[in-house]
């Protein structure tokens, strides 16, 4: 039985004083699992991911990450947790005045990697997403798809234990989408837990053993029956 890496229990999220954007969300993610998060626009996918990558605290409920309660985690310990999670933001959030190279190098610099040890992994990562020749380009001079690939490279360069990707294939052609997905699958096989939010139903069928989290109107549905808390066997499903 796989170890769980993230647990949500009756999590609710409310922005300001309105109605709850997310209600009664409970699920468990297994270490090394591959999860797709789907649902209509405005359903709350990004909100759910933000809870997962610690950009928001829930209004209620319990969230455990890496076997620790992160809802009550003191602020000072957040950086340590965040360094174990890679994020591809829906809107990329590349730093506009930094080159592709420096954007990708950012997580390594944040975790204190020496300058002389940066060049090799960053160059490798640039090549991996097919942008070796755009190393010094600023985000504004990159196409949407190229920016997205820089964002992906930046998210994975620190070898995170969880990779959270919000619509990572929204701006690329189907061929590139397939390549990126292949890349994610490769990371997953190396042990990274993947959570990928997507509208793209074609993606879902491309990864063997992926589970699906469906969210609609702020509530979780569990079409594959794999997310109940505590989770039941079998954990892996689907052969493409």
């Amino acid at each position: 039985m796989a170890k769980s890496i993230a647990q949500f229990e009756n999590v609710g999220l409310r922005y300001g004083t309105g109605a709850e954007t997310l209600s009664d969300i409970s699920f468990t993610l297994d270490e090394g699992g591959f999860y797709f998060l789907t649902g209509p626009s405005g359903a709350g996918k990004t909100s759910l991911l933000k809870l997962l990558y610690l950009a928001l605290r829930p209004s209620r409920g319990l969230i455990r990450l890496f076997d620790e309660d992160v809802v009550t985690l003191p602020r000072g310990r957040l950086p340590g947790f965040r360094r174990r999670i890679g994020v591809v933001f829906q809107d990329f959030r590349l730093v506009p005045h930094l080159s592709a190279f420096d954007n990708i190098a950012l997580p390594l610099r944040v975790s204190g990697v020496e300058e002389k040890d940066l060049f090799e992994p960053v160059s490798e990562m640039l090549a991996w997403v097919g942008l070796a020749d755009r190393s010094s380009a600023r985000p504004a001079t990159l196409s949407g798809g190229e920016q997205q690939r820089v964002a992906i490279a930046r998210a994975v360069i620190g070898r995170p234990e969880i990779l959270v990707a919000d619509e990572p294939t929204g701006n690329v052609d189907p061929e590139m989408a397939a390549r990126l997905l292949h890349l994610f699958d490769g990371l997953n096989k190396l042990g990274t837990t993947l959570v990928v939010a997507t509208h793209d139903v074609h993606l879902l069928s491309r990864v063997a053993n992926a589970a699906m989290i469906r969210i609609d109107g702020g509530r979780l549905s569990d079409p594959t029956g794999l997310l109940k808390n505590p989770p039941r066997e079998p954990r892996r499903r689907r052969d493409s």
Partner: protein
């Protein structure tokens, strides 16, 4: 050479936009530093002048023998001078020669006034130690025994309003230094806030990557420290030029009183420390403001 601080700042530099000196910040700091250095110089100069006045003049007395009979006046003056010389704590006792007094009075009563029978007091100058000065009454009594017509003028008394004025101006100058330092701090707070706004998105991304508040604060702090140092040096140089020019003008006037506003060389060192202190203050305030603002983020 292993310089982790240096390599860290190398990396930091790439995280935020260059163009450090583009904004008005360094110039605002330069103007404030200019005013700070000028007021500090004024304060130091005045303080020095006040001290010169005090040690030079205010421990000095003049004994007047106001006696109409010239013979009696001469006897009393001689006795009083002798008596004064014997007293402890009294030095430089000097009978002011009649010619000197005549010269002093000439504009008022014409030449040789004293010889023409206009009664003019005899004058004796003396310097006192602080202890002797404190016990002026005793001196007055002893002198009065031998010279009943003696009256003692205490220079400190007629200098008091002047030293008081200089003292007030000195404090005013240092108050201006404090005020400009506060204004400098306020300007830094505003600059940090605007930087936080400008770089809000970058800061959020850095946070989400696991950057600590200290790491992020360091990025801004360095920039502000450099801005402040640049502004400080420019302001100091401008103020130094003004002080040197003013110094020339003051010595050109040649007045004894203004001449007292001399500027000790050691004071230049103190003034040169001001831009450094300003940069230090700016850095501290920047750090405090940054960390305070970052703590409010998740």
């Amino acid at each position: 050479m292993n310089l982790p601080f240096f390599s860290a700042s190398q990396a930091d530099r790439r995280l935020l936009t260059e163009g450090r000196l583009a904004g008005p910040m360094p110039w605002v700091i330069a103007i404030m530093m200019f005013m700070t250095v000028l007021s500090a110089a004024g304060g130091i100069g005045l303080n020095h002048a006040a001290r010169n006045l005090t040690t030079g003049l205010s421990n000095r007395i003049t004994v007047q023998i106001v006696e109409a009979n010239p013979d009696e006046r001469a006897v009393q003056a001689r006795l009083a001078a002798e008596q004064l010389r014997d007293l402890p704590g009294v030095s430089n006792v000097r009978r002011v020669p009649d010619e000197e007094i005549d010269a002093l009075l000439e504009p008022y009563i014409g030449a040789n006034g004293s010889q023409e029978g206009i009664p003019v007091p005899a004058l004796i100058d003396a310097d006192l130690t602080d202890a002797a000065h404190a016990d002026l009454d005793a001196i007055e009594a002893v002198v009065g025994d031998v010279a009943p017509s003696a009256r003692i003028d205490d220079h400190a008394q007629f200098l008091a309003p002047l030293t008081g004025l200089i003292g007030t101006l000195t404090w005013l100058a240092f108050a201006v230094v404090i005020l400009t330092a506060s204004a400098l701090a306020a300007a830094v707070i505003l600059a940090v806030r605007s930087a936080l706004n400008t770089h809000g998105a970058t800061i959020e991304v850095l946070h989400l990557m696991g950057a600590t508040d200290a790491q992020i604060a360091r990025l801004f702090q360095r920039r502000i420290a450099l801005d402040a140092l640049f502004g400080g040096i420019v302001g100091f140089l401008a103020a130094a030029i003004v002080i040197l020019l003013l110094g020339q003008r003051i010595s050109a006037v040649g007045s004894d009183l203004l001449g007292g506003i001399s500027f000790p060389w050691a004071a230049w060192i103190l003034l040169a420390l001001l831009p450094l202190a300003g940069a230090g203050l700016a850095t501290l305030v920047a750090r405090y403001t940054m960390v305070g603002a970052l703590r409010k983020m998740l």
